[in-house]
């Protein structure tokens, strides 16, 4: 029972953070709302029994990636976002449409997908299980993903390090 209450509270916090991300007009506030979303997602994972995934969620997403987001916003000194009023039709149709769409999706997922609801603490989430899955059962996809990330890093390095001749041309 207590599990369910805490789970619902953090679910609400997560949704509120996501809405706040869209409503806020300053990039830093939006980035911090995203940190809240990540943090409450980590709590949800923890409550479902996936403690390793929860810790990694905090370390990687909230602690590293979002810090870099904030870093970039600070570095560019991004100002307050300019907002147009937007069309009234979009407001009138969009918000109810989104609500209906998400309710429909939730209904389909609950009733017709054939999946079972996960009880609190039921997911096998110990580091050993995750490690076995990553380095044994899904070794090939895992390695392919790491190569993909490596390619992305190399691309970023190539883009960042401009050839010297171009730089000299600029200076002269």
């Amino acid at each position: 029972m207590l599990h369910l209450i805490i789970f619902s509270v953090f679910g609400l916090v997560c949704v509120a953070g996501a809405v706040n991300l869209l409503v806020q007009r300053h990039p830093i506030n939006s980035a911090l709302s995203l940190v809240v979303v990540m943090g409450s997602l980590a709590v949800e994972y923890l409550l479902l029994g996936a403690e390793f995934v929860a810790a990694v969620q905090v370390i990687v997403y909230a602690g590293a990636i979002m810090v870099l987001f904030v870093f970039v916003i600070m570095l560019l000194n991004a100002g307050v976002e300019e907002q147009t009023k937007g069309s009234r039709v979009a407001m009138l149709v969009g918000i109810p449409g989104m609500l209906v769409g998400s309710l429909l999706m939730a209904w389909v997922l609950i009733e017709h997908s054939g999946t079972q609801a996960v009880a609190a603490g039921a997911l096998p989430g110990s580091p050993k299980v995750i490690g076995w899955l990553l380095f044994h059962d899904f070794l090939l996809p895992f390695e392919v993903t790491s190569v993909l990330v490596l390619i992305a890093i190399m691309g970023a390095v190539v883009l960042a390090a401009r050839p010297e001749s171009a730089q000299q041309k600029k200076e002269s």
């Binding site: 830093i28 403690e51 390793f52 909230a62 602690g63 590293a64 810090v67 110990s126």
Partner: protein, 345 residues
């Protein structure tokens, strides 16, 4: 143990831990001023109380009664939240740090730690990685170029050194086979050939220990890596615009982080509370706590000693050192450790 006793025991442990931690923070400041004073051929604080021992109290009173200035054009919500974020995350990680074995008080058995979680080390890493926000947001929200530069430097430096820090710990994890800090300490009990303790630092993790040491200095923004608050170039870095208790919160966060890092080093590399036990039962019960405190103290003393001895790095040196030296070294250490452990098993 029923729910009421559980809550009661937890609350008592939390209160004790917080009081001990905050006292330790205050007296680490005193120790630093005293030791650095002696290194520089001065006396350090001497006026308030014997040996200046009441100086932290005087400082605290002064911080509370000082005028709390808020400069104009700061971004107020974050300007006020930043020191709180820094302090909260600095104090939280003590919750999973064990300081001794299980004890039985009045028929209730409890570990000497607020809570024993099986991913304790990851929790500490997660909490400390969130501590960056306090520094970064303080730098950004102060609306001052010195603060901004300090905040930028701090976030870049902490993200960079976190990688080496994390990798240096994985060797220890492979040897212990667990994320639980208690299991890691338990794996270090006993001796080789009857006299060398089986601490991880004597089990081939000495390279990892030095990587951890250097990365920890950078993570806590201490000399020789105190670029974010380099007073000769940035006034005071990210906390330039802060005064009174808000400044004190950053100060407390820094020293609380130092103590956390020292506790972690003790648990992971220096055998935790293991040490020679002797004497009557009451002494045997207290000695593990004493050894733990001695090791943490030694680590803190080393911190201060380094501060009194070394000059500050240049920023490009700092980044090159972190990425081109520490990171490859940490990866090499990890590969060698994994290889040896795999051969042994």
């Amino acid at each position: 143990m029923n729910v009421t006793t559980f809550i009661l025991v937890s609350v008592i442990k939390i209160v004790i831990a917080v009081i001990v931690l905050l006292t330790a923070v205050a007296y680490t400041v005193w120790l630093e001023r005293k030791v650095v004073g002696h290194i520089q051929n001065r006396w350090g604080p001497t006026r308030v109380g014997p040996f200046g021992l009441l100086q932290p109290v005087a400082d605290g009173v002064k911080f509370i009664f000082k005028e709390d200035l808020t400069p104009p054009h700061v971004y107020k919500p974050l300007y006020i939240a930043a020191p709180m974020i820094a302090l909260v995350f600095a104090l939280t990680s003590i919750a999973v740090i064990p300081v001794g074995n299980w004890v039985t008080v009045g028929g209730i058995q409890t570990p000497l730690q607020i809570t024993d979680v099986n991913i304790g080390l990851l929790v500490v890493l997660g909490i400390t990685s969130l501590g960056v926000y306090g520094v970064a947001l303080a730098g950004w929200s102060s609306n001052s170029k010195y603060s901004l530069l300090g905040g930028l430097r701090a976030s870049a430096q902490m993200v960079s050194y976190e990688i080496s820090l994390g990798l240096s710990l994985i060797g220890v994890l492979i040897m212990a086979g667990s994320f639980s800090l208690r299991d890691i300490v338990d794996a270090q009990g006993g001796h080789f050939w009857g006299f060398i303790p089986r601490w991880n630092i004597f089990q081939g993790q000495i390279v990892a220990f030095f990587i951890y040491l250097m990365a920890a200095y950078a993570e806590t923004n201490r000399i020789p890596f105190d670029l974010p608050e380099a007073e000769t170039e940035l006034v005071a870095g990210y906390h330039t615009e802060y005064s009174a208790m808000k400044f004190a919160m950053f100060f407390m966060a820094e020293y609380a982080n130092m103590i956390t890092v020292a506790c972690l080093a003790t648990l992971l590399f220096l055998g935790g509370w293991h040490g020679p036990l002797f004497g009557p039962p009451i002494l045997q019960a207290i000695l593990p706590l004493f050894w733990f405190a001695v090791k943490v103290f030694a680590f803190l003393f080393l911190y201060i000693w380094v501060r009194g001895t070394l000059p500050r790095f240049r920023y490009d040196q700092l980044m090159a050192f972190g990425w081109k030296f520490l990171l490859p070294l940490a990866i090499a250490n990890l590969v060698v450790t994994a290889f040896i452990v795999a051969l042994k098993s």
